[in-house]
Symmetry: C2
Subunit: 257 residues, 2 copies
């Protein structure tokens, strides 16, 4: 396929322009999140990602739904991706057991509080299935993701992670890994390109930290549909500021002589 956009509510994100740009929200409470969402929206991204593992009230579903409403109100019509990143895959420690996390995702979907959710493909198969059902039932898009903050697996392993997401019925497959040497950055791009050609769903990928930062601005050439950029606070190492990232992408797309 290569280079197909993510669809939310049946419409292509960013009007189909690639890459779409996502800004993470990492506020600890609803007030901070509302301010952060308004500031992020002013930067003109295509999507906001609420990293709920940073949210102090994560154990209280009512607080989560109230904060989601505040974010939506501040976001000026931008769609929101809801993500609990596990500690194992680079997220913050939270006080919930995994079945409680699944219950939270289910409640957020049922309330139609967001347009998309990100769930890790390494979770229990039953949990993945439950989140898939809860999201599909209300037309919320499901990102199935894989992160390695320590290293970059071989290109073949990375490609298998994209395939696994597709096999588990994701709407979007996401892979984010840490490079230790430039070869790792090429492995990530190669696997992204192969997966984007092979799979029917959009893929999203990035190589992290300074060494991998180039993937945030040219991953789209190799089929990555979305790139994450910094608003007020980064949620992973290597994220670039929105404005600079957008300028650099425009430069690459300017059809130079």
């Amino acid at each position: 396929m290569q280079n197909h956009p993510i669809k939310l509510n049946g419409k292509p994100l960013a009007g189909g322009r690639l890459p779409a740009i996502c800004v993470p929200l990492v506020g600890r409470d609803a007030d901070a999140l509302a301010r952060e969402a308004a500031a992020a929206a002013a930067l003109g991204p295509d999507l906001l990602e609420w990293r709920v593992d940073f949210f102090a009230g994560i154990a209280d579903t009512g607080q989560v739904l109230a904060a989601a409403a505040r974010i939506r109100e501040a976001a000026g019509g931008l769609p929101v991706l809801f993500t609990r990143r596990s500690q194992r895959e680079g997220g913050q420690p939270i006080g919930l057991a995994e079945d409680q996390v699944v219950a939270l995702y289910t409640a957020v979907c049922a309330a139609r509080a967001v347009e998309a959710v990100d769930f890790e493909m390494a979770n229990d198969a039953a949990h993945v299935q439950a989140v898939r059902q809860a999201s599909r039932a209300v037309g919320v898009a499901l990102f199935l993701s894989f992160h390695d903050f320590g290293a970059t697996p071989a290109a073949q392993v990375l490609q298998d992670r994209f395939r696994q997401a597709a096999r588990l019925d994701a709407d979007v497959a996401k892979v984010a890994v840490m490079p230790r040497q430039p070869e790792d950055v090429l492995a990530l791009l190669q696997a992204t390109l192969a997966a984007s050609r092979e799979l029917a769903i959009p893929v999203v990928s990035m190589s992290m930290a300074q060494l991998g930062a180039l993937t945030r601005l040219c991953g789209w050439v190799f089929g990555s549909a979305l790139t994450f950029a910094v608003g007020q606070g980064a949620s992973a190492p290597g994220q670039l500021p929105v404005a600079g990232l957008r300028d650099a992408i425009a430069l690459l797309q300017s059809n130079p002589r």
Copy 2:
């Protein structure tokens, strides 16, 4: 080795910062070249490349040396790379036979009119050797280059081109190729990385046109020591404007969070 700078007159180009930025000069006469060199120098590159195949007076060595002096005067101390690109490798048609081109290179070196020369490794071995001797005799650096404006050979073939330059005693090995698909861009980067690790001389590479434009701003991550950017006129497809290129490189090197 990976990531060693080009040296001219025993000093690392751009103070050793990677990538160095080179702006081509494509004027048809000495007045135009002097204006172009002054305008290019104002953009703050590290090197100017005089593409002498665009010069109307190329068949007259006296005119060439006089134009070189005008360029040096206008260049404000920037070093100059002297290049006759052959028609076969993407250059302009000229009225000289190959042995006359070698005589021109020899005269330019003997006059110490420039700091470096670029000669194509596909030329007759005797010609390459003659240019190597003429340049070495006066401490002018020799780039041996390979260009394919139609396609991108396999990574292994590209790596052999870098090796061939080193075997022919180049000071710098340069490879520039045209991508037809994203896989070609990865092949160029992979070969560049492998060559930069293997060889004792600096390597320079680029994948051309819009598809390859990303290599002009992130080739340094994979060991390319120099990138070509547009001043007044591009000399190959895909060259980006100096200012935008520099901003994008600074973004990648900004040690993002």
